[in-house]
């Protein structure tokens, strides 16, 4: 039995200790907003926050997430609200197919929490672990700058 705290709720699951957190979220907790893209921490689609820091859930054994606060895309904002990054993603019409955007938004949120006015170089450094095959990068950059210019407080 493994007990996880996901989006401030406790869940108990029965899985092997080496099961990546990604598949526990998706197949055991039915939280499908976190995506499988590569399985080897190359694309960022599976990014979640572990105690506030972005991590690749596809290579994180569930045992390593026990006792920590896990935040997924579904838990970034309360109930039916969006956080400022999600709102900026909507305002800039960033998503195309949208599949990678959960991960992009998780990392962008963490970036902006840590650095309220990132430079283009900061954005490259933080976001280059993510792949978007639709090529939404320009709007991702614009949306991040927009949030930074709008607000100096934590986005979540």
């Amino acid at each position: 039995m493994t007990t996880l705290s996901v989006n401030e709720k406790k869940h108990t699951v029965e899985v092997e200790a080496d099961t990546p957190l990604l598949w526990v979220l998706r197949d055991h907790l039915n939280m499908t907003g976190t995506k499988y893209g590569c399985g080897i921490a190359q694309c960022g689609a599976c990014t979640v926050h572990i105690d506030g820091s972005p991590q690749r859930s596809c290579v994180l054994p569930v045992s390593a997430a026990e006792g920590k606060e896990i935040t997924t895309i579904e838990g970034l904002a309360d109930a039916e609200l969006l956080n400022e990054v999600q709102q900026a993603w909507l305002d800039f019409d960033v998503a195309q197919c949208g599949y990678c955007q959960s991960g992009q938004i998780m990392t962008a949120t963490a970036l902006l929490n840590h650095n309220s006015s990132p430079s283009d170089e900061d954005i490259d450094a933080a976001m280059s672990g993510h792949i978007c095959r639709c090529g939404t990068y320009q709007r991702i950059r614009e949306a991040i700058h927009h949030v930074a210019n709008k607000s100096s407080v934590n986005v979540k």
């Binding site: 590569c38 909507l90 195309q96 599949y99 095959r133 990068y137």
Partner: protein, 740 residues
């Protein structure tokens, strides 16, 4: 699946509430059959595409797939425009896979070829106009007044010079009472009076895509569902001789293993267990015929073929004579590798195969949940596979995490996996491909070799052109053979090389070279499954044609953009595009030390598109693409915001290909396996992209693939301008040019 513009949240919370809050039950509601939904909401069917609720909600049955292309939004805009409804009151529902919903162009349920906007332009507008006309007639009857005295305003019929008004929803009672039906002949708006079409409109399914609630194929959860992972022969086309699953069955959660056409599938209660079980399988493979194939062999065979006469596709003037009589001809050979699509959502499909209640040996029906571009083909293939009528196969359409052509598989490969895995299980089965299977999935942009020869006149203008194109045909031997093969030649292999229209492609290069000869070789289709990849033929013909044209410009001492202006002087649409490109790039200014420009111009599926890139090249071969200026003429711009997205995306995938893209086959095996060795562009590589759309009153034509066509040669031409090195085999990284 239903989407609404403003009510994304409220509708979803309704669904969640109604369904009790679990994933699988939500789907039960979302995927309820259309008839059920009609009864439940007392909707009235206006025509094949439109239903209206008493609360004035309009439901559009959408018959094209959404994979980032923006089809859901632009088609809904067409309906909302003609129907004159509030954009926030439209919701979408997937249209069933029935002939009445087939693309009028393809005569199939298929979203492909950058022709969705064009194909849907009249049907969607007509459907909207029919609805508006019906409500006008209903109001005229109800109020006993002349229809000419009435008008509409955002979902209401109003009296121009009176007080009366009614929502469309309130007029449903009159329509029913008077048995009114939609008329086939209705007039459409004059484009000059469009209010919504032509405005920047955000995607209709945008909210779901930022809060994690969007349901893609891989997110389908159904009661009792098993997950499948397939062990495949490392050589494409090989078969399992035998397998030992003792270690697999010891993996917790694994239920069983069995043979399917593509290999051995491991079924388990969750995907990780299935994959772990798959990795533990011991399989003895018969590698079959392809074990000795290699990319290098293909290149050498194709290069030899390129020097031999091929099938003659086009022969304007007399190229052979001019080239024979010219002393200084220019020659080059271009090589383009296999490319994988590498969509972010790996291939997957969920299937439920139901047995007949009376005779359990018989199958009664099959449901599939698939992120597919090609519903009718999947339905047809599954019906043949299970020997049931085509209409007994229901294709549900979740959202699609990227496609770029991959999910229009003619063999329905990932669908067949799931159906075969589910057959006999009596529960739904979801087969997910690992990224490695996806990269090695063998549906590739085929490897091509182009041989070119050219001659210039005494002013340095191309006088003769001779191109020989060698590569596996995508369409030969498929059901598309009759439409896409012309005298034994695949029009996709040649798309972008020919000056004149060819087969069903009613456009040429936009250039006029007086002597123009193109030949084609279709080498055997072995080793891979040659497949459409965003911009299809242009992904290789674009490089060969536009780089060689650049070579001719250089040899003739001509500016490459001025040369193209000269060659398109009788093609007003492309000429206008090029003129604007020249202006917007300040083409004649210098960028300074270490920096250079390159450009290319292509016409793919009617819409002319030209691009200039600005690069910085360092001494060590590292280069950055700083800026891309793109000018496109796509007819009426339905949604400029969506067009800009498609241009950015088309450029991005093209840069990935020209800079890094390379699937290599060695000993019958694909060398690359995942994003660490199949590199694609990331945010740090992304140039600033400037998009200019030519104002137009022409029919809207596509934008999905058009911007992919010129970018690769534009970048390669910029590399030449900066370095003097003419790269003729791709990707650029093979030659030490590393995109940073």
């Amino acid at each position: 699946m239903r989407w609404s513009v403003a009510q994304g949240f409220s509708r979803r919370s309704f669904l969640r509430g109604a369904a009790g809050g679990t994933g699988s039950l939500i789907l039960g509601v979302k995927y309820s059959p259309a008839e059920g939904a009609i009864k439940k909401h007392s909707s009235s069917v206006i025509n094949n595409f439109i239903r209206v609720d008493p609360d004035n909600t309009t439901t559009l049955l959408i018959n094209y797939a959404e994979f980032g292309n923006g089809a859901y939004t632009s088609l809904a805009m067409m309906v909302a425009e003609e129907m004159d409804i509030d954009w926030n009151t439209i919701v979408l529902e997937e249209a069933p896979t029935e002939p009445k919903y087939y693309s009028p162009l393809f005569k199939e349920y298929l979203t492909a070829g950058s022709v969705t906007t064009l194909s849907a332009w009249m049907p969607m507008r007509t459907a909207g106009a029919q609805a508006r006309d019906l409500f006008l007639r209903a109001a005229a009857l109800k109020w006993d007044t002349d229809i000419k005295a009435l008008d509409t305003q955002l979902g209401n019929v109003i009296e121009r010079n009176g007080d009366r008004s009614s929502t469309y929803g309130d007029l449903l009672v009159t329509i029913e009472k008077e048995s009114l039906t939609a008329l086939s002949n209705v007039s459409l708006k004059n484009p000059k009076s469009f209010k919504l079409i032509g405005t920047n409109t955000k995607r209709i399914e945008g909210t779901e895509k930022v809060n994690g609630s969007a349901i893609y194929g891989i997110d389908i959860k159904l009661p009792g569902m098993l997950y499948g992972s397939v062990a495949r022969c490392p050589v494409y086309g090989g078969k399992a001789l035998s397998w030992n699953d003792s270690k697999t069955m010891a993996v917790k959660g694994v239920v069983k293993t069995k043979r399917i056409s593509s290999g051995i599938v491991v079924l388990a209660k969750d995907f990780w267990s299935a994959k772990k079980g798959r990795d533990a399988l011991e399989v003895v493979w018969d590698e079959g015929q392809n074990a000795s194939l290699s990319s290098e062999k293909f290149y050498s065979e194709y290069k030899a073929l390129a020097s031999k006469p091929g099938m003659l596709a086009e022969d304007i003037g007399n190229s052979l004579k001019v080239l024979h009589e010219t002393r200084d001809t220019i020659e080059a050979v271009y090589e383009m590798p296999y490319l994988a699509h590498a969509c972010m959502e790996p291939m997957n499909c969920t299937a439920m195969v139901e047995q007949d209640n009376a005779d359990t040996d018989k199958i009664s029906k099959c449901e599939i949940w698939s992120g597919t571009q090609y519903q009718s083909n999947d339905q047809e293939i599954v019906s043949k596979l299970l020997n049931i009528p085509q209409q007994s196969v229901t294709v549900h359409r979740p959202l699609i995490g990227g496609s770029f052509g991959r999910r229009a598989s003619k063999t329905a490969d990932f669908t067949v996996d799931a159906v075969e895995a589910a057959n006999g299980e009596n529960v739904p089965v979801q087969v997910i491909w690992s990224r490695e299977e996806d990269i090695r999935g063998a549906h590739y942009r085929p490897l091509f070799v182009h041989k070119l020869r050219g001659a210039l006149d005494d002013k340095g203008i191309p006088l003769a052109w001779h191109q020989t194109v060698v590569g596996q045909s995508i369409m030969q031997g498929t059901k598309h053979d009759p439409a896409y093969m012309v005298r034994g030649m695949d029009i996709y292999s040649l798309d972008g090389c020919l000056q004149e229209p060819f087969g069903v492609f009613r456009y040429g290069t936009s250039y006029a070279i007086p002597n123009h000869r193109v030949e084609s070789h279709n080498p055997p289709k072995v080793g891979v499954n040659p497949h459409e990849w965003r911009a299809v033929g242009h992904t290789h013909t674009g490089i060969a044609y536009e780089c060689f044209l650049d070579e001719l410009a250089h040899a003739g001492g001509k500016d490459p953009l001025d040369l193209r202006l000269e060659l398109t002087k009788d093609n007003p649409r492309m000429n206008t595009v090029l003129k604007l490109l020249k202006e917007k790039t300040n083409w004649n200014t210098s960028l300074g030390e270490g920096r250079a420009r390159g450009m290319a111009a292509r016409t793919y599926s009617v819409s002319p598109c030209a691009q200039a890139v600005e690069i910085t090249l360092l001494d060590n071969g590292e280069f950055s693409i700083d800026k891309v200026i793109c000018v496109i003429d796509c007819g009426i711009a339905v949604n400029p915001l969506g067009i800009e997205s498609q241009v950015q995306g088309g450029i991005s995938i093209g840069i990935s290909a020209v800079a890094f893209g390379n699937i290599e086959i060695v000993d019958g095996r694909v060398k690359q396996s995942n994003f660490h060795d199949y590199n694609v562009m990331r945010i740090n590589h992304m140039p600033e992209i400037e998009v200019h759309i030519i104002p137009s009153e022409e029919m809207p034509t596509g934008v999905g693939e058009q911007a992919t066509a010129p970018i690769a040669p534009a970048v390669a031409n910029a590399i030449f301008a900066a370095s003097g090195t003419r790269v003729r085999s791709f990707p650029l990284s093979k030659h030490g040019f590393k995109l940073i």
